[in-house]
Symmetry: C2
Subunit: 311 residues, 2 copies
């Protein structure tokens, strides 16, 4: 795998901050994002177009998208949208990529979003319509993200055939790409390989955009290795593992960007990200969120003596 390019998509400013109570000021978010870009991060999910009363932390998403586009023209600016209304706002702000989550577990979908699969798929169709009307060169990429794809805390096992069928529906209704999310930290490496291969076979490998893995049971990076084995080259991660400590301390949610980048670069895979500068971005984040625990093994242990990045 030596020399392959891997895209580490930073989701901290959205997925990370989403579960943090103290609202980070817009200026602090922009400083953190600037530090991430300086470290070489090429794609960042900067926010979510949800109603401000539901998520005050992300109420400034439009402002953040506009500022970031201006300051970092080369950055791929991604946002989450729960519906067509959010997609409209994302298009207006100039996002490069919009991601709509669809929970493979319908129980989870009903409980958390109060919507059936069919209702979410109708939103997908509406968003595809909006995107079709975008002027040439302004249309963002459209990803359908299958959450609870590896299991659900309410339903338990989620049949792989259901995940594959939903992936096909998403593409048929207008998604450019489909992502698989281990929302619950249930995935294991054998399952990752099996499900990725099944989805690749159904919609084509070029339409499986990447994996969003959690480290809830410590298997996050092991699942990345499994993903790499079957050709995945995009992985979400969150700086400091921000965004989800659903259990006791140490049992983080998102995989930690610092550990992921160290692993990939040590393996000879090119992320474009400088691990030392990533630590500088971590310091910016830490200063902006005093008292909030940040996770990661590599930040504690430091880089190995004589460590070299991928050539």
């Amino acid at each position: 795998m030596d020399g392959i390019d891997v895209l580490v998509s930073e989701v901290g400013p959205r997925d990370g901050l989403q579960s943090i109570a103290p609202v980070m000021p817009t200026a602090a978010k922009l400083d953190w994002i600037a530090a991430l870009v300086a470290a070489g991060v090429r794609e960042i999910e900067v926010g979510s177009f949800v109603p401000a009363r539901l998520l005050p932390q992300l109420a400034d998403t439009g402002e953040v998208v506009r500022a970031v586009r201006h300051r970092h023209p080369g950055l791929h600016v991604a946002v989450l949208v729960p519906n067509a209304k959010g997609a409209e706002a994302a298009i207006a702000a100039g996002a490069d990529k919009i991601t709509l989550p669809l929970s493979a577990s319908e129980t989870h979908s009903l409980r958390n979003l109060r919507r059936t699969h069919e209702e979410v798929l109708e939103e997908v169709q509406r968003i595809a319509g909006l995107l079709g009307a975008c002027p040439e060169g302004t249309r963002p990429a459209f990803e359908g993200a299958l959450s609870t794809a590896f299991g659900c805390t309410l339903e338990g096992e989620v049949p792989e055939a259901k995940v594959v069928a939903l992936a096909e529906r998403l593409v048929a209704l207008g998604c450019d790409e489909v992502g698989l999310s281990d929302t619950t930290g249930y995935a294991n490496p054998a399952q990752v390989k099996r499900l990725v291969r099944a989805v690749q076979a159904a919609i084509g490998p070029e339409r499986l955009s990447g994996l969003h893995l959690h480290n809830t049971r410590g298997l996050g990076l092991a699942n990345v290795v499994a993903g790499l084995e079957v050709g995945i080259t995009t992985f979400d991660a969150s700086q400091g593992g921000l965004g989800g400590c659903p259990f006791a301390p140490g049992a983080s949610g998102n995989i930690v960007t610092e550990d992921l980048v160290f692993m990939l670069e040590a393996m000879g895979l090119r992320t474009g990200i400088d691990p030392e500068r990533l630590m500088a971005a971590r310091a910016v984040l830490k200063a902006a969120l005093p008292g909030e625990p940040l996770y990661g093994f590599t930040p504690d242990a430091g880089l190995p003596l004589g460590f070299r990045r991928a050539a």
Copy 2:
């Protein structure tokens, strides 16, 4: 890989306790070992035959070996020995397996054991002589464990050719098997695959006994996945990640048995170990070491809803 048997070799009672200051009474060690055996653990490194004044924690190793052999006739009882004198004691006590560590980094060997490679290799030869004199059916297996095989905190990179050459010497001088240890937590999955393949090619896959991996930079289980990909079926682990928190909290040393067993069983690989009963053994350990931090993600998060062990 479905249905393959994997041996999880528990090193907590030796490698784990070794770095703990309060000496655990022999009876408590035996209770913990009994709980591990009840969970299905098939091999345990129960101690080390080093001078008692150097390591009071393991001064009762002879007594532990004898008691464990009597109580758990089916258990594979492993011990560490630093030299031929230790091997003599191990043979007398009736160990099933003796492991002699040899640091691939000579600087590390000199600094930690005050011995050159040649001096350690002379001990190997002496031990092979002792083993040759064992009566039929009483001869323990003899493993040479190459520590710092994936890098050294003093030398940095350890050339793979050096590791391969030392593995060949160990076998030539009488070791039945060679193990590779990531003593420093420097290993990455690409390196694991590369080095395992190189050693397999040199001494034969049947003589590469297993991997001893650390989780210092969070890559422990990712490195296990890499090992599985190239045919490794024995992995050391320590309950609660005991034995080495060389850095800040959370940056544990040994990979955590609870997380490893969960991952392997979830992957459909048979460890013979019941994750629920392993938690009971953890409770025994916790009671015996009050105040000592135990690590692991799965113990905090619990097993996934609907989790099934490998068939």
